[in-house]
Symmetry: C2
Subunit: 425 residues, 2 copies
């Protein structure tokens, strides 16, 4: 048997999703004649629908694996259920058939794994032989069934290192008034990214002095009391604030709607900084790394990078083994020394869930990461990779993989305006 694979990237980007792409391509090359071709869709599932496909031959995999963002482009489009839009699925399979695709490898987070489950189910219903496999990816670390998610360890390392470095700066400044520093992390409804910054506190009184996560409603009075103690003892107080922190009634502290039904977070860190600086009449600084935390390929976790490669390689092997509807999940075998492997989990069983920080990872006061949490987190940020540079900047893969000629007429029908975005260069 020889297979044609179609790889696609979806959801928010990470510093290592291209390492998963490199893993797919490396394993495909290593498999020799068992894999005939690897194509990649432009902008995820939209590119499949639009028949915007790349030929992946000739890509420099080392350069690719060191490049942040997703070189094939990503989307946040979710396939509606087949029962609602059967023609959309007809189109999907028509494109797959036109290019003789045997397996779709979809690299994304919770929403993308739902697409894996849906497309797999649609294929079974149609008696279509397509194999559909999920490659996990998210800086949020919130995919059920995965001990950790590729992309998370690198963002975690970046944030923990940044907090560690800023702590040196904070400790340097004399100030009668005191100084509040807040770093706001991404993560939407989950606190994994914020929690990782706790690794920066390795000695007494090291930052962050509090870590506020959405899983625990924040207690303004407790935060103020803790800050007051630190300001009087150290002259400064450093706090990590997850963008999605919630009040006691469960409502997020800061969101803005965007008219498209999606809630966007942002600003919670600034709010906490303002509250503290106005209460204590002290200086405030608030860092919001925003996209920097998910694209900092100059400072990836070597463990995370290796896992991103490994899930890509595993997905190719699963395809060859005909294992449909599964996700190449990372499984933890031991904390210390850290050992892990890749193990398949059912896409349908984990899709669109949201794995939150377990209560055991948060201290009883709700404002710090517990020892159990630190034990979980520590191995994920370990190790550094050499970064090829030129002119003082990292070297990224900048090639443009060739587009395949279309074999079908353009897509028309439901959501054609959205699908059309994947035809853009």
């Amino acid at each position: 048997m020889t297979m044609n694979l179609l790889y696609a990237q979806a959801g928010g980007m990470t510093a290592v999703i291209n390492a998963s792409a490199a893993g797919v391509l490396a394993e495909a090359r290593a498999q020799g004649p068992r894999i005939r071709a690897v194509l990649a869709a432009r902008y995820g599932i939209l590119g499949v629908l639009a028949e915007s496909l790349h030929d992946c031959g000739g890509i420099d995999l080392d350069a690719l694996a060191a490049t942040p963002g997703g070189i094939f482009g990503s989307c946040r489009f979710n396939m509606p259920p087949e029962a609602e839009q059967p023609a959309l699925y007809d189109r999907l399979f028509a494109v797959l058939d036109a290019h003789r695709i045997d397996a779709l490898l979809y690299n994304g987070g919770n929403g993308s794994l739902e697409i894996v489950a849906k497309v797999s189910a649609a294929a079974r219903r149609r008696g279509h032989p397509l194999i559909c496999i999920g490659i996990p990816k998210t800086i949020d670390n919130d995919i059920e069934g995965c001990d950790c998610c590729p992309g998370y360890g690198s963002a975690a390392k970046y944030l923990a290192s940044s907090m560690y470095e800023v702590c040196r700066d904070l400790a340097s400044m004399s100030s009668r008034k005191g100084r509040i520093f807040v770093m706001e992390t991404m993560g939407r409804n989950v606190g994994w990214l914020a929690a990782a910054t706790a690794l920066a506190a390795r000695e007494t009184d090291e930052a962050p002095h509090m870590v506020l996560v959405p899983e625990m409603p924040f207690d303004e009075q407790a935060i103020l009391a803790r800050a007051e103690t630190l300001l009087s003892r150290l002259g400064y107080c450093a706090i990590t604030v997850a963008e999605g922190i919630r009040r006691a009634d469960g409502s997020p502290l800061m969101t803005r709607s965007h008219g498209d039904g999606h809630i966007r977070f942002g600003g919670a860190g600034g709010e906490i900084a303002r509250l503290l600086s106005e209460t204590f009449d002290c200086h405030r600084h608030c860092a919001a790394p925003d996209y920097l935390q998910r694209s900092a390929a100059h400072w990836v976790s070597a463990v995370d990078h290796a896992q991103a490669l490994a899930v890509g390689r595993a997905a190719v092997r699963y395809a060859l083994e005909g294992r449909d509807g599964i996700v190449a999940a990372i499984r933890r075998l031991d904390d210390e020394p850290y050992r892990w492997d890749i193990s398949p989990v059912e896409a349908a069983a984990v899709a669109n869930l949201e794995r939150r920080l377990p209560p055991s990872f948060i201290t009883a006061d709700g404002m710090q990461v517990s020892e159990a949490g630190r034990r979980y987190l520590a191995p994920l940020i370990a190790g550094e990779r050499a970064v090829p540079c030129s002119g003082g900047l990292p070297v990224h893969y900048r090639g443009k993989p060739p587009r395949l000629e279309r074999r079908l007429p353009p897509y028309t029908g439901w959501a054609e305006d959205i699908v059309r975005t994947a035809q853009r260069n």
Copy 2:
């Protein structure tokens, strides 16, 4: 002749100010018996007044040179003129004499170099043999008489690399609505840090697509027109916004007063992002690296680090040569290949000025960095340094240099409450 040196750090921290400290200590050790001792003041000039002094023997200089922040602590205290507060100067010289200090090496920015000039003048007026030397430092790059300032190149490299990485991420995301990304940089009234991000744009259409600096009043209509073009061509637009950007009438876009007479910047990036996203109904993201940009020792410019070391070493040699009232400035000899040396400039001639981006470094439309600017900037971010790590985080110098016993009674008098902060650990 054999000398005792007193070193101190002042002003905002940088990723490489400790490299200058390491340069001072390395040169002092290399000079053998010509230097008897190097002391360091806790929290800058406040530590001199408070007689909070460290013994610098036995510090691991390699670890020190890799550590952000200032291990001896810093302050923003400015000495009033001697005519106003003669007793403060009496105290200063009493402490220097009690510890037989022959030379004060003051490592700071514009305000700190003014202290160098004032203390030097006070010594001359008193017929005191003290030698006073400035070691430049600022991420803002705004010291007159210096081609560049230690600390700037590393912050510049961090910001340019971050913009370069985020550009990969932005280019990955499909979006019908379009996407605005803004990164706000520090720099107060000057645009040097913002300008450095232009180095990330090495090919057509690479981010940043606009660089807004305080030296050019921003033109809202021109910004909107440029953004509209980019949104329609690329689907995204990335902008660097200096925190101190100004309206046509010269007023800063965003400031907040803090009741202490000092203006604090912050929020200009968010404002520009909001303006654009509301005008074009598109997604917006705004990164504010804040302190991260000045403490990112994991990603310093090797050139900047070498210069920080070199100005520290030069200051010791100047002290031995008896050159009072001068600053160890970096001089550019050639752009390409970049060559530089250290050359003394008069502290009194450059103190408390503010070097702005020259008009020739900004394009005619006021929204980008010119070729001349790029030629100036490029060599300053060049080169990387290996970062010793442990457990996934950088290794920093964490020793506590011993305090010297006080030989004088505590300071009392004008500003004694401020001086007392330097007695804190």
